[in-house]
Amino acid sequence: MKWWKYLTIVLLLYTVVMGFLGHVPRLAILNETERNLYFHVPMWFGMTIILFVSVVNAIRYLRNPSPRLDILAHESVKTGVIFGVLGLMTGSLWARFAWGTWWTADVKLNGAAVTMLIYGAYLVLRGSVRDEQQRARLSAIYNIFAFSAAIPLLFIMPRLYDSLHPGMGGNPGFSKYDLDSSMRMVFYPAVIGWTLLGVWITEVSCRFAFVKEKIYEKQEKQLA
């Protein structure tokens, strides 16, 4: 097993233990729910990083087409969507107890939801094209569109308008509160740990897809 997989295990276990036992500042309304910072926020960090990996591989595919690059881009999007959906669910639950509602027409929330829909459409688009090369090229081009729509939706638009979400529209981010650095000692390892978990899942699913590809190739050769 590669070294970074051991690192993932250590960081995730550290996050789960220190996420509950570590010191957090006393804040009204949030109370203990601010520990969600170690679990909800890394989902979005992980998603963004994995989707960036995906779009890089999509561009690499367009420059130099190969089935491997297409698989890398596709499996990355799948992991990214899982992380994004988990982020939406945990965010909604947190909002219920911090803001008093499961969902509100907030720029940040709607931007995140639209991002998920855009990437959902990526998977639908892939499923609707039979020809492998056409599917790979179409989805690589769509991937570029999806990523360049997701970044403004998630990180630029919410800062331009009023938003309830921390770090957006004039609201202070959590960096204002965790200046005592005790939360940072858990938050940064949490981000790295959860992101590495996403990378790990993507790596395994990619390798599985590569093997599948290889077996199909062999079968086709046998038939021919």
């Binding site: 993932t8 309304i29 790990w200 395994v204």
Partner: protein
């Protein structure tokens, strides 16, 4: 006439003063009280149960992923990747 007015004023003050005191006491209380945290949970030591449960879940998921990783590795060897 004057005494009657005085009487009315003193009654109003007598009625309002305790209310004001109560209100100020209430305000003082809300500002002095610290935000609620799970102190009792921590003090009773039961938070460790939750931590252990999560450690078990995360470990279980990681073991599953490690086994999946191993299976794919064996498959790769078989196919000659």
């Amino acid at each position: 006439m004057k005494s009657k007015k005085n009487n009315w004023l003193s009654r109003a003050v007598a009625l309002l003063l305790p209310l004001l005191l109560l209100a100020s006491a209430a305000f003082a209380q809300t500002s002095a009280a610290e935000p609620e945290m799970a102190d009792a949970l921590r003090a009773s030591g039961k938070i460790y149960v939750v931590v252990l449960v999560l450690v078990i879940i995360v470990t279980g998921l990681l073991v599953y992923l490690i086994r999946l990783d191993g299976k794919v590795s064996r498959l790769e060897k078989e196919v000659g990747e």
